[in-house]
């Protein structure tokens, strides 16, 4: 899909729904007993949710009436971003199961493979050396307790 130009209106709707949902959810935080001079926990979330609904409605209005320049976005290259994002979340998921160093080694190698789209051994050695160095600094020198799983 190329040069999508209704982004602002669609985003406006999404933000309006988010605002409405936050407004509804903050109804849960209304205190049972009102205390003098004390604002309930719901006031600020409601205020901000209301502001979000107003601003998103304004954005839709301005976009429809063409008061502002339409945001034209291109989705070229979004595929690779999607793959990287999925890999990031998979990395997060497997860290406590496999262990940080093992998962990170595999992760950086896959990221490098996607970046270069070639199988150059030197690139993999470089990133693994850098990763080991970072791991050594944090885990051994600074004693940051990085998660361990089945392996380190």
């Amino acid at each position: 899909m190329k040069d999508f130009k209704y982004a602002n209106s669609i985003l406006g709707v999404l933000f309006f729904v988010l605002g409405a949902w936050c407004y509804w959810e903050s109804g849960e935080y209304v205190p049972w007993v009102e205390m003098e001079g004390q604002m309930g926990a719901h006031i600020f979330p409601r205020l901000f949710a209301g502001a979000l609904m107003f601003l998103s409605a304004l954005m839709i209005f301005m976009d429809v009436k063409q008061f502002t320049k339409a945001t034209i976005i291109s989705f070229d290259g979004i595929g690779v971003v999607f793959v990287i994002a999925v890999l990031c979340f998979a990395f997060w998921y497997f860290i406590p199961i496999v262990g940080f160093l093992s998962t990170a080694t595999l992760f950086v190698c896959i990221i490098t493979a996607i970046a270069t789209r070639k199988l150059r051994i030197f690139d993999y050695i470089s990133v693994v050396v850098v990763l080991s160095f970072i791991y050594f600094i944090f885990a051994n020198l600074l004693k940051v307790p990085l998660p361990r799983g089945f392996f380190i």
């Binding site: 959810e25 600020f44 301005m62 997060w92 992760f107 990221i111």
Partner: protein
Amino acid sequence: MESVLMLMGGFRDILSFQGILSIFMGSAFGITIGALPGLNASMGVALLLPLTYGMAPLPAIVMLMSIYCGAIYGGSITAILLRTPGTTAAACTVFDGYEMAQNGEPGRALSMAATASFIGGIFSVIVLVFLSPPLARMALMFGPAEFFALCFFGLSIITSLSADNMVKGLISAVVGLLLGTVGIDIVTGVARFTFNFAELLNGVSFIPVLIGLFAVSQVFITFEQNILELGGVKQAISSLRISMKDLWSVSGTITRSSIIGTIVGILPGAGATMAAFIAYNESRRWSKTPERYGKGCLEGIAAPESANNAATGGSMVPLLSLGIPGSETTAVLIGAFMIQGLRPGPLLFREQPRLVYGLFAGMFMANVAFFVLGMLGSKLFAQVTKIPNKILLPTILVFATIGSYAESNSLTDVFLMFFFGSLGYFFRKLEFPVAPLVLALVLGPMAESNLRRGLIISGGDWSTFVTKPISLTLLAIGFFTLVMPFVRMYKERKKAKTA
């Protein structure tokens, strides 16, 4: 005059082999800690605290103070080179620092950061030496009403940060304010937007949000654009130093930001991050060419960097004069004093004047040390931008992961970091500025808690915010800052119509 003589004595005490070694070691360690995302000054001080058990009081505390000063400066290095602020105080430095690095001037940006940090730091030490008792008393005049007004003033910057697209900037800020409400409400104890996740009870951690929005989103964008051979820079590295002309051009900005940084630093709980944002906005507001901000201008680096380092000296004012730690790092430093059998406060000035002036001299030298290391290292640090992206991108992702995890040893923070990385990618793609979100997330919870505390103290009387002179002044300036961009927009439109 007496203060000057005492200060000379302090320099005599600290300029020993052990003193200089502790200052340079502390500064080097501080710069490293500050540059590593997720590790901050308080962690650095806490890490080296056990090393000071066997040391004499003066070099021990000065070493820890050097870590503090070095770490605040160090945060700018990765902010400029990798779009990853090492500390929250360097969040503002990203806007212009990274752009300058992209334009082939990473060395110049780094030199500016080191110089501005040095001048800001030295300014605050001078204030600390000569004005700490009256300023500490002033800090005590700040109650919830004044703090709310200060937060409002800080938040009013949002409109000028959003000047390019006001509605989108404001939406971004409101999203940040909503995120700031996540967690246990400190007044009533109600859990808000936590959905029974215990990890969210403390709210959304700031570091993962920052790393995600700035660093991870940049990695995604770079992958999308398929830029593989060059690192951070699009062009060859041109200059590595700032000239006297550069320095002269930002002298007003540095002076103003140093004053702002010192004052905000003195206020307990305000901190270097708030100081940097306020200084950045004030610099932009006073500038004749505000449109250059965010595109890689020197003032955009000089303002936040001088302010955040000036806040280090400022935060020492209530600590040394009153024994009140105004920030996380100074709270850890109080521990160092206690380990040495000392109690900061008015009595320290009376009982141990030699040590106090030794500390002042040590802090002065700590600023010199990080400046020397920063300037020497800028050429070396700038080489990071020459690393090919195929190595740099996975490295940034690993750094980001460890940085997010290290703050509270929580994998939830890692998840949040990737989530905000994806959000940041879409925000940037859809032309939503991320700076208002970051600012709102920092100041929103502070503003809310102080407003509510102020109302509880006044028994629900809203006039408490406008009857106190400091609060009224700050609210008035905040209101002025808030509406100014709208007035400017109106004038520009009118001008365009008549033309």
